[in-house]
Symmetry: C2
Subunit: 425 residues, 2 copies
């Protein structure tokens, strides 16, 4: 039996009862013969409460101090968790990100891990302790300042520690049973996925699935650390994310043709109207956006109207960046040369993800047929090798997701594989 | 202008408003040309809330984890304070005890500072920052574990940093105006002391005065760091504690004959009845108490009754240790040889403190005359070179303190020095 890294999110340790329940679960893994390293987030609402305090003293809290403040949250949860484990008769020690050797760059509030030197953690587990590590935090390599990793940072801490400690698996405990074929709040018949490849999980994560963040999956893929996403409230198997299909009992879980349907209503669409259809125009627009440090998602250029020599260019971006993008383009209007800007935040994106697309002709056709059958109008399309995404009206998203989910045989009452006719995608 | 260390207690930073008020005060000192290092405690009730959480998950929290938990409190207050200062347009950086170089032994929950290596703090202030340091915490020399310094630990942090940084003064900001000639809740006419020597302050602290703890004053005396105890709510001068009288305006503050009257009702009295009056008996009793790790205060042995050859030995100790002492003595009853034990927790101690006692005859007589005039019965007496203490009934303490305070001319409506007649003390 090797070393296991377990990560528990804030909802799993929201109060003293939650901490005691999680402690029991951790002790089980130890009793089963594993070395156990636990990464824990701040309790429930702690982080929000600390942010609220910060806003009371300063409208624009400095990054370094904000990180110092927020990291108090995990310090509380990890110490309490270690106490709860010791109270069950097992040895436990808690460690800050810094003590655990989580070395980051100096970008406060969204630092990136650049090295993990887990000597103290390895020593602690070798001595028979359960090691509890604060998620979401590290120490900067150059200035030795406390940093935080940004949203979903505790998952990344867990995967990075699992990689550095050569763990068998990184278990991500959460308040859902795993990764589903669609958001169960939208699609009642969504099914838990038993296994999904790193590649498909990366596409789902970047298409709106919230269970695992892209950065964490990317880290696991690079170091080939299997992730097991599961509920801290049940004993059920969750979703395995790894390079090769897992074996469950005597049957091997097969690669699904389609892994799932993701949706995202957090984006807006900007249309630059009346752009001269000549070389360098798109470059001028997207250089302006890039200089404003805005990440964009999809891009579409309309066919130019021959009569005017003008075209329209549309792109999508997070709604939170909309104001900044419009301002940047307006400031640069004469330099770029365009007539006007249109901003639309009533859009949604639906994405179909599955490596099987590569070898199964007709997936694209079936996807559009399903959308058409649900009378959903398509505004933009973009594809990767294993994903098709469309932009629709935001109101159409739930119906569109359900229609696609059913069409591809993903509903929980549908056991049949769907056969695609037609030629290619 | 040199470097100033300021310490703010939990009541001064109880909420966002308090933090903003303190931030303004700190910026004032910086504007006056000082380098400023600030030591801060946890906000208001934070520590109690964390202790409450610990008790919910474990009846006997482990020391190491308890310290990890409690130190979250200062992390929150110091980060918020740094933010508030930056919001006023001044540069500030917060540092944990570990980052500030506060090195301690490994005795969790009541660690002692064994070294201070404030390189990062010195660098930070040299770069023009106000450095904010977490009080009450350090890092253990051998294991690099987080430790806490116990009650009053933030004051000790401040004095230790002031010594290591060669500060001009260590300002202890609190919710009272300074050290008084008696507890103002008991003696309405108690006066703020302008200056008091380290020696007198040490005696007051060990006799029940709560404004500064003995350990902190002892540290300041050893490194000759002047302490200025003052209110964070007013701009008034407080009490200076130093080796030499200070100058205020054009007049030098004189050494008072009597510094003040302290009282303490936190002790109990144990009487060991019927002890054989022979060598080694007292040693057996106090070895038993010492082996139980109980600190005692006063000791009195009665005159032996010639008829029986038996005597009684009484001593005082913190009420919180009473049970333990009685148990230890009972367990060792046959070894020591005594008839019975009496336990009395309805006692109080009144102490008169002042270096002037050494050279002013009649102080002792005046003290007892004052107590007698208030019809207060004396049960035990103990003295040092600059202190006289008596034990009385707890109920008599307020009246006794007031009578002594008046007799020695300490009342705020009394400007006259009192002349003592009589011969010696």
């Amino acid at each position: 039996m090797g070393l296991v890294v377990q990560k528990y999110g804030g909802s799993s340790v929201a109060d003293a009862e939650g901490i005691k329940r999680v402690a029991k679960r951790i002790v089980e893994a130890k009793k089963n013969g594993h070395q156990v390293v636990v990464v824990v987030s701040a309790m429930g609402d702690t982080t929000d409460e600390l942010i609220d305090l910060a806003e009371q003293v300063s409208p624009m809290p400095a990054g370094r101090e904000f990180d110092m403040l927020l990291t108090a949250g995990e310090r509380i949860s990890m110490a309490l968790l270690a106490m709860a484990i010791k109270n069950l008769g097992h040895e436990a020690q808690s460690f800050t990100g810094s003590q655990a050797g989580v070395i980051t760059d100096s970008v406060h509030n969204k630092a990136r891990i650049i090295d993990v030197t887990p000597g103290r953690i390895q020593d602690s587990v070798d001595q028979g302790n359960i090691a509890i590590v604060a998620g979401f935090q590290g120490v900067s390599q150059d200035k030795k300042d406390i940093t935080t990793l940004g949203r979903g940072g505790s998952d990344t801490t867990a995967v990075a520690l699992a990689a550095a400690l050569n763990a068998e698996v990184c278990e991500i405990y959460t308040d859902v049973d795993g990764v589903f074929t669609a958001d169960p709040r939208v699609v009642k018949k969504a099914k838990k996925i038993d296994w999904i490849s790193f590649e498909d999980m990366l596409e789902l994560a970047s298409s709106g699935s919230k269970v695992l963040l892209h950065r964490c999956v990317e880290y696991a893929r690079r170091y080939n650390i299997p992730i097991h996403v599961r509920s801290s409230f049940s004993g059920l198997q969750g979703t395995w994310v790894s390079s090769e299909p897992i074996e469950q009992g005597d049957k091997k879980v097969e690669q699904a043709i389609i892994s799932g349907v993701a949706h995202d209503t957090s984006e807006a669409k900007v249309t630059v109207v009346g752009v001269p259809d000549k070389p360098g125009e798109a470059a001028a627009i997207f250089r302006t956006i890039a200089d404003a440090e805005i990440n964009i998602d999809m891009v579409v250029q309309n066919v130019s109207a021959a009569s005017t020599g003008l075209t329209d260019i549309s792109f999508t971006l997070p709604k939170t960046e909309g104001r900044k993008a419009i301002d940047a383009l307006e400031r640069n209007k004469s330099g770029i040369g365009f007539d006007s800007l249109r901003y639309d935040d009533q859009i949604g994106k639906i994405s179909l993800v599955g490596a099987g697309m590569k070898t199964n002709p007709g997936v694209t056709a079936a996807f559009f047929e399903a959308l058409s059958g649900a009378s959903v109008n398509i505004e933009l399309i973009s594809t990767s090798e294993i994903r098709i995404s469309v932009v629709t009206r935001a109101d159409d998203v739930p119906e569109a997701v359900r229609a696609v989910h059913t069409a591809f045989g993903l509903d929980s009452d549908s056991d049949e594989a769907v056969v695609y006719g037609g030629t290619g995608r």
